[in-house]
Symmetry: C2
Subunit: 253 residues, 2 copies
DNA sequence: CTTAACTCCGTATGCCACACGGTATTTCGG
DNA sequence: CCGAAATACCGTGTGGCATACGGAGTTAAG
């Protein structure tokens, strides 16, 4: 049973390749690992990661708490499996257009995903789990800029850059939304209540630039912050910077 | 006592301005809010946010658990205060050089801070706390690019971009370090153990580009990933992109 | 038909945040 | 100088969590 030699995390992630190690002796499991993972995703989608608990996953399946542990060794492990599962959802559409358009599509896919499953941003990866869907996606992301003129190293750094930026940008957006939703207080309302206090605490002359910039941004956005627009701004700058890198050096085949 | 009207969060954050609301009737508090905050920072520095608990803060001060709640209304609130406290640590050195150098300094300050207090990356801000140190820093960050030619909106977006990217980049670095430390297994060791398995799971021909890029990166970095270098790469691209934005339009004013 | 292997689950341990109420201490009003 | 009010500190309790452990029932291999 070479499965036993494999790190348990890996063997679960790659279960489609390795097969689920099912001893044939005892009773069959009522569910599959995939059903547990999907139940987990549903819980996390609805309640977020902090409220995600093994009990809720069990309840959703009609199992008792401890039975979950016969499918999955720990909460962290389950979350890791959920992450890779989710990475397989959008598929990997064929690349079209030039590298700028392709990278935009790569970023947009991640952006959308973070909004579909906001708990992804709350996952604390200890060691990055190398699962099939994650691996496929990384390959697909690299393919988006293959042949554009980057060195191998730069290709990795570029994808990292796009990914890091998108994650951070989505994080800001998602937490803002979550806050508004949970507290029932919109940004505008919060400011209406607290602005008088803040104006006293923060006299304009102590914060000349932020005062001016904040006012402008507020008027322009019609909100404190327009995350979608900040995202596009940042992405455009990054793409321009990458373009610079490519055009600044002699193009050879 | 107009303090009472103020959102409790704000009145604690701005306690130096508003004064700590100390009724004079009963016994004096054995410690100050600042001491509680510093104790909290010490705990978080040593053990990280997941292991950060009110009990440990209390133990460190020689108080019993529930006494902490006479200083600070909740765990979340305390963390918010810790964040603003930490933002005051590095001071705000005068800006020097052109806007590129200044922005680099801004990014570097955040990068260093995330490494000094890695738990900052684990904080889930619900509503961004507007505290004195955070406000001062934002003003200072904007001052770094004041007059460079950005519109007000772009100034805000630029600082957001730099901040988002730095946070994400630091996050990758910090979690990698933490994992290596906690598991006692270095990246190299992890790969040595798991590489044979992964090679079987991920045949090179299924992952042509990642295989090539991963090999190159591994050789070049002498590690799986060199975060410091990725950070500089990303930052340079972003700065180039911002430069592009400025030079692509007629300079006036 | 025995027995190993397995699933499911009840219970227990040791964490956690926090509500509530009690007691001791301090100071104010008279 | 005294009583009342305000306050700090803390003991206890509630309800949550992950997960270790062991037991009862189920299945199929030998």
């Amino acid at each position: 049973m070479e499965n036993q030699d494999v790190d348990r995390t890996l063997s679960l992630l790659w279960r489609r390749v390795l097969g689920v190690p099912q001893g044939s002796r005892g009773p069959k499991q009522r569910f599959s690992v995939d059903e547990v993972i999907r139940a987990g995703i549903a819980v996390a989608d609805e309640e977020g990661l902090p409220a995600f608990s093994m009990r809720k996953v069990a309840d959703r399946l009609g199992l008792k708490l401890m039975s979950i542990y016969t499918y999955v060794p720990s909460r962290d492990e389950l979350i890791g499996l959920m992450v890779d599962e989710v990475m397989g959802e959008p598929g990997l559409p064929p690349h079209e257009g030039d590298w700028r358009e392709r990278l935009t599509a790569v970023a947009r896919q991640m952006w959308d995903e973070f909004h579909r499953h906001p708990w992804l941003l709350q996952v604390e990866q200890s060691r990055p789990w190398i699962g099939p869907n994650g691996s496929d996606r990384y390959e697909w992301q690299l393919a988006a800029i293959e042949g554009a003129g980057f060195t191998d190293l730069e290709m990795d750094q570029t994808i990292t850059l796009i990914g890091d930026f998108t994650a951070a940008s989505a994080r800001a957006d998602v937490t803002a939304r979550r806050t508004a939703e949970q507290s029932g207080i919109s940004d505008a309302e919060w400011w209406a209540v607290n602005a008088p206090v803040l104006e006293r605490l923060m006299p304009l002359d102590a914060y000349p630039i932020s005062g001016r910039v904040g006012t402008t941004a507020g008027e322009e956005y019609n909100a404190v912050r327009d995350s979608e627009r900040s995202f596009r701004f940042g992405l455009d700058r990054i793409l321009d910077g990458l373009d610079q890198l490519l055009t600044s050096r002699p193009a050879d085949g």
